[in-house]
Amino acid sequence: MRTPLGHVRGLGAAKAGTEHFWMQRMTAVANLPLTLFFVAVVVALSGSSHAGATAMLGTPWIAIPMLLLTLSVTFHMRIGMQVIIEDYVHDELLKPIAIMANSFFAVAVGLASVFALLKISFGV
């Protein structure tokens, strides 16, 4: 005989205890300075030409924080959307599909951004 508490202890909807909570907070803290930096870059690039934009995005001191931002943001948004899915999608088939699609989207956005930033930086 297992009590309802015994069923859920240490698991929860995410099946991973407090790991998600901690990663959510850690990436949130990382996102703050990186987002400020990103907004400054976009403002500085407003109305610039392709040559101007790629020259700026390709310098290491712009490209490296942009890569860090991509990593931190895509991680953060994947966790966040998973929480939203777990709150509203209860269908036993739809829920794992939505959680998978969430990961696919986050990885696709992250990898496309990283590839583009590296290509701009290395100029191939």
């Binding site: 703050l32 907004v39 966040g80 951004s113 583009a116 930033l117």
Partner: protein, 138 residues
């Protein structure tokens, strides 16, 4: 044995849910934090597309710049900026709460007002500077 999902045999009282409450700043801000997070999630695709266009070459970049620079494009980017700042300030509020501070009624109200007011002021400031830079670039 009883499954937690089994239908209750008696009509037990349920805890009150959203529709019971008068809308308050606290709950509206909580809802908006989630909505802005969801919007930003899909908005990251716009940034990825912009970066990929820049990596692809001048003509792809010009196309994307034209779409993003159109009236609907600018509107989306304006609200994206607001959602980003609002969600970031809301995140700071949550980080303050994580330390155990800011839970008194007056402190909570102040934090909500700072989040909302700050998001509007900062968004307008960012766009003003953006247009000044654009004007400077000719």
């Amino acid at each position: 044995m009883d499954s937690p999902k089994a239908a209750p045999s008696a009509a037990r009282p349920l805890s009150p849910h959203l529709q019971i409450y008068r809308p308050m700043l606290s709950m509206m801000m909580s809802i908006v934090h989630r909505i802005t997070g969801g919007a930003l999630y899909f908005g990251t695709a716009l940034i990825a597309i912009w970066l990929v266009a820049a990596a692809s070459g001048p003509s792809a970049f010009a196309t994307i710049q034209e779409i993003y620079g159109s009236i609907p494009g600018l509107l989306v980017l304006f609200f994206y900026t607001w959602a980003l700042i609002h969600h970031a300030l809301g995140g700071v509020r949550h980080l303050i709460w994580d330390t155990g501070h800011g839970f008194e009624p007056r402190e909570r109200e102040l934090l909500y007002r700072l989040t909302l007011g700050g998001s509007i002021v900062l968004t307008l400031l960012i766009w003003t500077v953006g247009y000044a830079v654009r004007g400077g670039a000719g």
